[in-house]
Amino acid sequence: MIHQYKLGGYNIVLDVCSGAIHVVDEVAYDVIEAFESKTADEIISLLSEKYKNREDISLSDIKECYEQVKSLKEAGKLFTEDNFESMAGKLKEKTSGVVKALCLHIAHTCNLNCSYCFASQGKYHGERAVMSYEVGKRALDFLIENSGKRRNLEVDFFGGEPLMNFDVVKRLVKYAREVEGKYNKNFRFTLTTNGVLIDDDVIDFANKEMSNVVLSLDGRREIHDRFRVDYAGNGSFDKIVPKFQRLVESRGGKNYYMRGTFTHANPDFLEDIKVMLDLGFNELSMEPVVCAPGDPAELTDSDMEIVKDQYEKLANLMLKRHKAGEPFTFYHYMIDLTGGPCIYKRISGCGSGTEYMAVTPWGDLYPCHQFVGEDKYKLGNIYDGVTNTAAQCEFAECNVYSRKECRDCWARLYCSGGCAANAYHATGTVKGIYKKGCELFKKRMECAIMLEIAKQLEN
């Protein structure tokens, strides 16, 4: 399978299954488009007619081009067949029962009252609660016990707002550091915070112990303060921005992400990106809102077109700043063409419910943070392990080939089948697909690949 598109002045051809990417001239673009459905003679005669008034394109050019396409096919870099299906699920089979990442719901409560919150202001449709040290410690032990030979273990402190239970966070990290050497493990911690409680103590701790920090900021003050308000209805922008700036300035190059949400209120999210840049942040992420159908924050069909246009404009801005020596990172455009994941990973799905789970303040296990509160997907708990094997099985079976829509999608080896939670909320089954999410993902990949091409060709 191939995917062809034109963007940023480039004619781009992706050979989906080999991962090869080609930048081609207009004749090659046309040859490739017709190659599988027409004979050589038909293609040559078709293109001779199309380019008959072009002095710069001769018949021998067209013939030469045809031969080059043919050679690439023979070399396994064009029209490569998908022979990976029998490998789907192999990685999960091989690592069956191995857990390598936990999302610790350290606080099911929040000091902000954002109406678009997928976690219903941190409560996840349940009671407010914080995780005790004992539950957290048992969760870390559960992870170590179930991680097999896996050395790198990921733990995200999540909420609600995890800094509302900061003492427990610190104690859990201390415990993990004490035991990781003994078990030959390496904990990588992440903190996701709204910033309200950031102080010097939090900054020192985060810079020392957190391999990544996700900071929630929606961009323009009026956009941010529209949703991200306290319980008195006051916007949080002025309160948190100076704190984020202090944290980022002192981070010394360690990873962080300024992470915003765009909604129906700001499909023109590039304006929010620009505000983030002006504030001094250059590791950025903006995500479409995840909400129930019909929610006022939901992106409409016309918003989708605006968003896609914004993605292109964002790519152009990144390129311009890259050339000017003022680069910034947009998380969704990060793509490692030479050092990216192997094919097993690419076809295995996201890992939720198998190698990755969320832990509630009470120690219950769910496939991921977005399923917390969905009783039928409660997998078990950190004391007895996974007991709802039927539910786990649904997740274990998720891979690129388990969704019929993915089979014909050129982006499948870049997304691995998408988000089970988005699929569930959109279609009622984890094996469905969230069409709007797919549409935006594909647009992002086209832009990300174009950016990499521009950078490689520049060198």
Binding site: C17, S18, V23, K94, A101, V290, Y331, I343, E452
Partner: protein, 50 residues
Amino acid sequence: MEHIKTIETRNLCDSAKNGGCGECQTSCQSACKTSCGIANQQCESNKESK
């Protein structure tokens, strides 16, 4: 005349031969985990050998 320029990428078919160690990051694509697909991840075994 060069009609086609091939960009350097990892060959996915070849990666079937020595892949699958499973040390790579989990790939959360949902809310607040900032939607990392597969594409923006690094191969841990490649990273170590670099």
